[in-house]
């Protein structure tokens, strides 16, 4: 056992202390530089905002821009196990990588478009259940009743648990003999399901887990939105003789839109890019349970096809980007944030 000896504790604290000091000094230096460059040399009237932004900008450059540039460059190489140190960088090589993504199986058997369709199916199924489940629960909770606080607290559990714990716990529950689902199935007299081995059921298992994980977030968002709808609208509608369903369609849904739009966009992106759930639930690494990002990870780390996977990543990013722009255009719902 590693005791939390005083040495260990002081060691950590000194690490923390020195880190804070470095960050502080670094930021100071950056601020001074920005001040002089923008303030004195360019005499810009935007000096202050740039100073405010500078540390974050530098951080993001290091964490996002440089790695992205590295990956873009990598996408034009053939770096892999055989070409680890001496790889070739060229436009032709890059085009070759992109061609390979669409022409050949990404890992062993599955090609790009089936993989993309499966990812889209995964995203759509999850999102439908997330939103409808969240909507139903939020509507049920949006009233004065006893135990409302308790219900809300309990229903948020799946979101509150650390994701890796939840996913590995669910994976345990899909165990053929000892997982509670199969145990209950057997008690009812049904055949136990081979969750980990059968491609179809493995996909279902991943969906079940992710739906369970994702409903609370939607529920909370929608609940917040519902609570901001003035009750007078409903009363007026009642007086005018509108049915509950008509009220829902013409009051609830439109008023939820400003909240739902960013939630759905974020939800879609997070689900599309969800790594933990499909990767961990897929215990035996069935290729049929992979979605785009898990296939990307495997291509990079298990098959060491670094150049190929970089190109692959760019394709995934492009798809998401196009989706987001289209969704924003179609719903026009997010303009407010960027004004």
């Amino acid at each position: 056992m590693s005791l939390l000896t005083p040495e260990v504790i002081t060691g950590s604290l000194s690490q923390v202390g020195s880190m804070v000091l470095y960050v502080f000094l670094g930021a100071l230096v950056v601020e001074v530089v920005v001040y002089f460059v923008f303030g004195k040399i360019f005499k810009s009237k935007y000096t202050l905002p740039y100073m405010l932004l500078a540390p974050a900008a530098i951080g993001l450059t290091l964490l996002v821009i440089y790695p992205m540039a590295y990956e873009v460059r990598l996408a034009f190489t053939n770096m892999s196990l055989r070409h680890f140190r001496n790889y070739s960088l060229s436009l032709a090589q890059g085009l070759q990588n992109f061609k390979l993504i669409f022409a050949e199986p990404v890992l062993k058997q599955v090609k790009f478009f089936p993989l993309l369709s499966r990812t889209i199916l995964w995203t759509v199924i999850n999102l439908i259940f997330h939103v409808s489940g969240g909507l139903v629960l939020a509507i049920l909770l949006n009233r004065r009743m006893r135990g409302r606080g308790i219900y809300r607290t309990l229903l948020v559990f799946p979101w509150a648990i650390p994701q890796i714990v939840a996913v590995l716990a669910w994976r345990g529950e899909f165990h053929f003999e000892y997982g509670f689902i199969n145990v209950m199935l057997q008690r009812i007299g049904l055949q136990p399901i081979q969750w980990m081995v059968d491609p179809f059921w493995n996909f279902v298992a991943a969906c079940i887990t992710n739906i369970w994980l994702g409903i609370p977030f939607m529920m909370i968002i929608i609940l917040g939105g519902l609570q901001s709808i003035p009750i007078e609208f409903y009363d007026a509608a009642e007086i005018d003789g509108a049915s509950r369903w008509q009220q829902f369609r013409s009051i609830t849904l439109p008023m939820l839109r400003p909240i739902l739009t960013p939630a759905v966009i974020l939800g879609t992106i997070w689900t599309f890019n969800n790594f933990n759930v499909p990767y961990m639930i897929n215990k035996y690494e069935l290729e049929t349970s992979d979605i785009l990002v898990t296939a990307l990870f495997r291509a990079a780390f298990e098959y060491n096809r670094y150049g190929f996977s970089a190109a692959f990543a760019l394709v995934i990013l492009l798809i998401l980007f196009v989706f987001t722009l289209t969704y924003i255009r179609v719903t026009g719902g997010i303009k407010g944030v960027y004004e």
Binding site: L81, R85, E104, V197, T288, E302
Partner: protein, 403 residues
Amino acid sequence: MKKFVTILLVSMILMSLVSIASASKVNLVLWTKEGEEPLDWNKSLVAEYMKANPEVSIELVKKIDVEVLREDFLTASLAGSPPDLLWTVNDHAGPFVAADVIEPVDNLFDLSIFVDSALEAVKLEGRYWGIPISNGNHLMLLYNKKLISKVPEDTDELFAIGKKLTQGGNYALVWNQTEPFWLVPWLGGFKGKVFAEDGVTPTLNTPEMIATLKFIHDMKFDAKIIPPECDYDAADTLFKEGKAAMIINGDWSLGGYMGVLGEDLGVARIPKVVATGEWPKPYTSGVYFMLAKGLSGDKLKAAQDFIGFVASREKQIEMVKLLNRLPALKEALKDPLVTENPILKGSSDQMVVGTPMPTVLEMRCNWDSMKPEMLAVLTDTKSPEDAAKAMQTSVEACIKALK
């Protein structure tokens, strides 16, 4: 002012002295794939060596499993800061040699003192890439003497005895049904091989493979002597709990089973395949030291010395005692401790009919292609013929991608 400058100079000198003193120490970083008892042995080896050689400091880093070790070593090499030494399995040589991140060892050590089969498993492109520590890492038939007194000699006997023993939650035989490592011994028994003569062209869609897949399918669905779903954990637990008479597992598990079953543990060869008259051929390899590329100077000397220390007869015998693994040193094999221990005798008896595990880069494609198809056959979702065909398509695509 003068006082300040003096203090500054003195402290600078002191600091440089300190750094010289610590710089005279040679620091080696050793990554190991071992866990539990073997890891404890790693730790004690390192501690003992450092005590005897105070100018060398070895940092032992445990990697969670072999996959993590492989991934991390490649990533670290990419970044230019790999560890100096590896304590790992033979099939890492394939990818590491392809990526040119390890050193060949023929010129650095006298390899004639080691067992041939152990060396074969790390031979690539005509050179040797690792120093063997233990020999084996192979599957064998382990049985519980309380539940079965005479092990079946061949597969017909296995099915007959098995049917009698499998009832009421007890099974005759358990093994890890999710990894192709457990499939290849039977493939060997049916006279099949995963590679053609050249060692790099895969031969998975063969009559021998189909026969093997049919065999394991029958084991489960006709003779019904194995559990419906069984991974490593489940097999291990069932055997330890006395609910399985026999288990096919590797030499790494011997220590654990001896602890639970003691005298009741028996070791034998996996039963002969009646259809061909051949003994199944589990893959043999072992555990090896590998050196990072570019290791030179003092570090190289220290590494050589440490490896010599571990490969010494004394330490090899210690390993036999503690871990029940067969030594890679020829001399140590002759020691009565090895020749008279019934468990080790059984283990080496099985090894004799084994075959060295291929270590070429393409082997990974074989493993990855066999795994899902084997699972499909065992869940009755694919016929053996279709599975074999799919395996071949997979492996060819995978190898193509490696170019």
